[in-house]
């Protein structure tokens, strides 16, 4: 298991993370359902976490993994608050289509 990055190569992890991140961006732009937009943000966060762990292995350093731990804590807090906002929006408007949230439009 020690030479795993010799066998796979850090480039392949970078490309995997980049494509996963781009899929997340694509989801944010493509869909109108606010929950799917949320899921796309989670995909982006996971792509970055994966790259952190890959480089933590690459440099043989534990600090990357500690950073991933903190980013997971922040992601959990973000999801809790975000879903509460969505529930509140749904209760007031009856929909969570992001195209309908234009009360602040001038």
């Amino acid at each position: 298991m020690e030479n795993i990055l010799n066998q796979i190569g850090i480039e392949n992890y970078i490309f995997l993370s980049v494509i996963l991140f781009c899929i997340g961006v694509f989801g944010v732009l493509y869909r109108r359902n606010a929950i799917i937009v949320f899921m796309s943000i989670e995909i982006m966060l996971n792509a970055v976490n994966l790259l952190f762990v890959a480089f933590s292995t690459y440099h043989q350093d534990a600090q990357g993994q500690v950073f991933v731990f903190f980013s997971m804590a922040v992601a959990a807090a973000e999801v809790a608050v975000g879903l509460a906002i969505l529930v509140s929006v749904f209760r007031n408007l009856g929909t969570i289509d992001v195209g309908n949230l234009k009360n602040l439009k001038g």
């Binding site: 010799n6 995909i43 762990v53 534990a62 997971m72 959990a76 969505l86």
Partner: protein
């Protein structure tokens, strides 16, 4: 440059990595593509589980466990409960106008192209892979790093989670009409 290993004589670890990567990317794409939000949630669970597999492959045991519990456990339960609470598992979503969708696809391709082109040329900056052989990612070592060097951020994370909990309860509470 990219050195894609030839699949004819790939080692077992490479085969596992490619299978896991294909599962990850396909389920992430299906999360966005499927019209029913509940199906999206199921595909997202598959995506997160395969990312846990990647962590296990990199021998990051602690993060594999935490990722499995936090993401596929807690966060997905929250999302699934919200979908069921809003009764959204109907496929009646109106799509964005065609120009916006086309723009999204073009931006996806361009972003992939640019980021991959950047990282192909960044090999000298990334540096060389050195195997020191010392233990750096077992739960014991991670616990020492977390509670010695990162003690203050660790405590702040707990405060953040508490504030998020209070905020979620306050936001989603049904407000009483005072009359």
């Amino acid at each position: 440059m990219i050195n894609i290993p030839d699949l004819a004589n790939a080692t077992p670890i490479q085969i596992v990595f490619f299978v896991l990567s294909i599962i990850t990317l396909a389920s992430a794409f299906l999360t966005i593509y499927s019209r029913n939000p509940m199906h999206s949630a199921i595909y997202l669970v598959i995506c997160f589980t395969s990312i846990t597999g990647h962590y296990l492959l990199l021998n990051a045991q602690f993060l594999a466990i935490v990722n499995f519990i936090v993401y596929t456990g807690a966060i997905m339960i929250l999302i699934v409960f919200t979908i069921m609470l809003m009764n959204l598992n109907k496929e009646n979503e109106v799509y964005k106008p065609r120009v916006t969708r086309l723009g999204a696809i073009v931006l996806f391709c361009l972003m992939c192209l640019i980021l991959i082109a950047i990282f192909i040329n960044s090999k000298p900056i990334v540096g060389e892979y050195i195997i020191t052989g010392e233990d750096y990612q077992s739960i014991k070592i991670l616990g020492k790093v977390l509670l010695n060097e990162y003690m203050v951020p660790f405590e702040f994370a707990s405060v953040l989670l508490l504030v998020a909990m209070i905020g979620a309860v306050l936001l989603s509470k049904k407000e009483n009409n005072e009359n």
